[in-house]
Structure formats: structure tokens, C-alpha cells
Symmetry: C2
Subunit: 136 residues, 2 copies
Amino acid sequence: MKPKISIICLGVSDLERSRLFYEALGLKTHDFDPAQNVVFFEMEGTWLELFSRSELAKDAGVTDIGDTTSGFRGVTMAHNEPTKEGVGRVMAEALAAGAKLIKQPEDVFWGGYSGYFADPNGHLWEVAYNPYTDLT
Amino acid sequence: MKPKISIICLGVSDLERSRLFYEALGLKTHDFDPAQNVVFFEMEGTWLELFSRSELAKDAGVTDIGDTTSGFRGVTMAHNEPTKEGVGRVMAEALAAGAKLIKQPEDVFWGGYSGYFADPNGHLWEVAYNPYTDLT
């Protein structure tokens, strides 16, 4: 297996609301068609996909236990910024776009600086400055 | 916000078991240190991180509701292959490495071909052939 994650797909309850949220963060859709029940964002590296949570469960053939907006899912996405100021700026952008504040950015135990927000469906994003490894 | 997901972090219950699983799939760790409770895999594009699920919840400052190995989380990762045969090969590699079969690869409604497996902590991976958009 080539070391590549092609897409991360987030299950959502309201596709339009989620699309508008990520567009407000500046992400660009790929071949967007309002008649489709899926949205792709063209990203550097792994793409982001939004898809109906129930349809996503159906696609995988698993039971949707119905945890739609709360509860920890054991998965986070990180967006790294080259500076602490960048972390503050992206957190502010996300909150302005309607994200829920989960953790104010702060110096963290591993030597970086990070905060967390939740998207409209409770998916957790860490916004981080990492002085050791540049993944920006 | 630059359109980039730097890292996808999966919460795990047994870090060594999960690391060995992804190593068996051919992924390479970055600066691995057995004394640390975190593992990074250097990938094309977005990196993959494994971290204690409870520590990940603590890092975000959220409550871990304890859904450790089962239940749908509303998140899937996709690894795309350039051919249907590639999908079958990667599914076989994953099962040989200890993954749980979730869905046998099959032709799917959107015109592609895909299957699903779950990693040792129940994180869902789709292995897909997409004839329209090359994300391999």
C-alpha cells in the first residue's frame, strides 16, 4: 500500500450547512453539483469529503449508532500553521464561520501551541504550531 | 486557512498493536521512539498519527465517551488505487495484517469499485478505485 490517504470523509447531517462552513474557511470545492449529496474539497495532500452520515454508514455497510453531533469519535484532524499567530488567526476564522470553540490555543506539553474547534457536526480540528516538524 | 490537513490522528487503545498493523501495511514511521506514546507515519500529503485515545480526548479537553472499538464514528479514510486489482490487493494486505473485513470490494453506485476494512481500533478505511478522479 502506497503511503497515502486519498480522502478523509466526514459524515454530516446537513450537507449545505457543512459546505458553507468549509467554504467560509476558504476551501474550494471540486466539481460541485448541488444535485449530488456529496461535496469534495480539493486540498494539498488528502482531500476532504462531506457526505450524509447515514449514507456513509450505508456505504460501508455498518450501523449508524446515531452519535450525530456530540461525543468523542477517537479521530481528529490537524491543520498546522507556521506561527502561533497563525494558529490564533485560523481559530478566529473558524469561530467566525460558525465553529464551536473546544479549546483555546495554548502552549502544550509536547512543546507546541494548539487549540481545537468543532465543525458543525462535531468533527474535531486541532490548529497547531509545531516548532519541530513542518507540516504546514 | 491554507487548504491542507496536516495530520489525521487516530485514537488507539494499544499503540504497539496499531503501529505493527500499519507497519505491516508498509507505512514508515517518522522519528519513532518507543518511549513516546505517539507514532507518526510519514505519508504523501497528510500524515497519519496514532495516539492513545484517552490522551487524545484529554488533549482536546473533551470527554471520552468510551466507544473504543465499535460503533460508527461518522469518519472514514479512503485509500485509492489505480485499478480494481489494486483494491483487491490492498484489501488482502490489510486482512493479512489483522484488519477486520467490513465490506468486500464491489462495484458501487457512483461508478467506482470499493471495499472497507476496520483497523485494530475500529477505524474505517475504504479502499477504492475511482475511474473519474485520480487521487492515487
